[in-house]
């Protein structure tokens, strides 16, 4: 299966899960919103061009916005993590990203600790920006901090579960 095709299928699948499964879950608490769709950006291959990465993330964010009905909110957060992602990968991995070929960030290719750091930092950054923008429109400081912590934990849990189930193929390390 070609790399592009695989990612398109994955994108559709992740978006479907986000919009028609996670968005339909009855709310547990004001702070808990299961955001999951952005994991698509985290799982794109290492060697993707930076401008392409930015553009894809913007498009993904816009599509999510169509269904959340908040034009630009999720797109802004996605573009931010897409911009930070290459720097973070260079920081966490000793090798140059170009040597990695078509590999994508997984526990095996990056090692468990760098992979976990990578997930936590980008998830936190995504939610921080998203909720900050939301906070600018309404809400209090407690709302901001509480929602940031709760949504980040829920997102990380969802990503962890998916990683256990999906077993994405990778040969390195």
């Amino acid at each position: 299966m070609s790399l592009v095709f695989k990612n398109i299928i994955r994108f559709i699948f992740i978006m479907f899960i986000q919009i028609f499964v996670l968005n339909k879950i009855p709310p547990l608490h004001q702070f808990i919103v299961p955001y999951f769709y952005f994991v698509f950006i985290l799982w794109l291959p290492f060697k993707i061009k930076r401008t392409a990465l930015l553009f894809i993330s913007f498009a993904a964010g816009m599509l999510a916005d169509m269904f959340f009905k908040t034009p630009g909110l999720h797109a802004a957060a996605c573009v931010l993590i897409a911009y930070i992602r290459p720097f973070l990968i260079n920081l966490l991995l000793p090798k140059e990203a170009t040597d990695w070929g078509n590999e994508e960030p997984t526990k095996k290719t990056m090692g468990p600790v760098p992979y976990a750091t990578y997930l936590i930092i980008l998830t936190l950054l995504h939610h921080f920006y998203l909720i900050l923008l939301e906070w600018m429109q309404f809400g209090s400081f407690l709302y901001f901090i509480g929602k940031l912590v709760a949504t980040t934990l829920v997102s990380l849990l969802l990503i962890m579960i998916t990683d256990l189930f999906l077993n994405r193929k990778s040969k390195l390390r």
Partner: protein, 282 residues
């Protein structure tokens, strides 16, 4: 000049990032002021079509509740039918009809359009709905939307066949409301905590409030028909800082299961707007 190009080349990714970021933020911040954007029109149609397909499947799960609500409403409407009432026997009484013009004749102010809700959310902070009725069916922004139990929200954006409704469960939604019994004027908003409850504030403490009192839409509103249920008082809090209550009210409509709605058109809206304009001009 060469340096400028070198600079652009070196920082091209960063500039692209800034452009996309700016685009996203400008969309976000202009949306709240001008709901009608080209993006809004496009995304309404696209997202609406996808939602419609999924909704076809999903609607089966709440059918029984919908049926129950509709049966109740049918019962209420049937009781208005002339066949349901008996004319009093006046044959042995002399009634002098002195009025030549029928002064009791009413004319219509509100027109109801039936609409299907094709997408709804309760778990966000800004909950919107998408209805399958649009400008082609005569819907314009700022119309009221009511459900089988009571008020649902306001139309904020319209495309050809879809319209977006700001539900009562939206942090920026504010509806003027009165208590059916005490008639104190207040404001219904949502604190974002629990989708089953709304907050009614600004009711003065001079009004006597009891648990279970009905909160209805105000008679002074120009878009909501007066006397429409919004919720029932669940908990009464005294606001220590001001001279008003802070009432927790249970929504009249079950926002989890709502599937059909009526869009309300105020037939006197235009006249009212024009009248208001003449006052503001002077």
């Amino acid at each position: 000049m060469r340096n400028v190009f070198l600079f652009l080349k070196r920082y091209s990714v960063f500039i692209f990032f800034l452009v996309l970021q700016g685009l996203a933020l400008s969309m976000l911040f202009s949306y709240n002021r001008f709901h009608q954007t080209a993006y809004g029109m496009f995304s309404n149609e696209v997202a609406g079509n996808v939602n419609k397909r999924v909704n076809n499947v999903e609607s089966f799960f709440t059918l029984s509740e919908q049926n129950k609500a509709l049966r109740q409403q049918n019962a209420a409407l049937l009781s208005y039918l002339p066949s349901g009432s008996v004319i009093p026997d006046t044959s042995f009484q002399l009634v002098a009809d002195t009025v030549a013009v029928d002064s009791l004749k009413a004319y219509r102010q509100y027109q109801y359009f039936d609409a299907k809700i094709i997408s709804n959310s309760v778990f966000l902070q800004q909950n919107n709905m998408v209805l399958h009725r649009g400008s082609a069916q005569g819907i314009v922004p700022n119309m009221a939307v009511v459900g089988t139990g009571g008020l649902i929200g306001t139309v904020i954006s319209v495309s050809e066949n879809m319209s977006i409704v700001m539900s009562l469960l939206h942090r920026q939604s504010k509806v003027i409301a009165v208590l059916k019994k005490g008639s104190g004027l207040g404001e219904v908003s949502w604190d974002g905590k629990d989708p089953r409850f709304l907050v009614l504030s600004k009711i003065p403490k001079t009004v006597v409030v009891k648990k279970g009192d009905t909160v209805v839409s105000s008679p002074y509103s120009d878009k909501f028909p007066p006397g429409l249920p919004i919720g029932y008082v669940e908990k009464i809090d005294q606001d220590q800082e001001t001279n008003t209550y802070k009432l927790k009210i249970r929504t009249a409509v079950d926002f989890y299961a709502v599937q059909h709605a009526y869009i309300v058109k105020n037939l006197l809206q235009e006249e009212m707007d024009q009248l208001k304009k003449t006052v503001i001009k002077e």
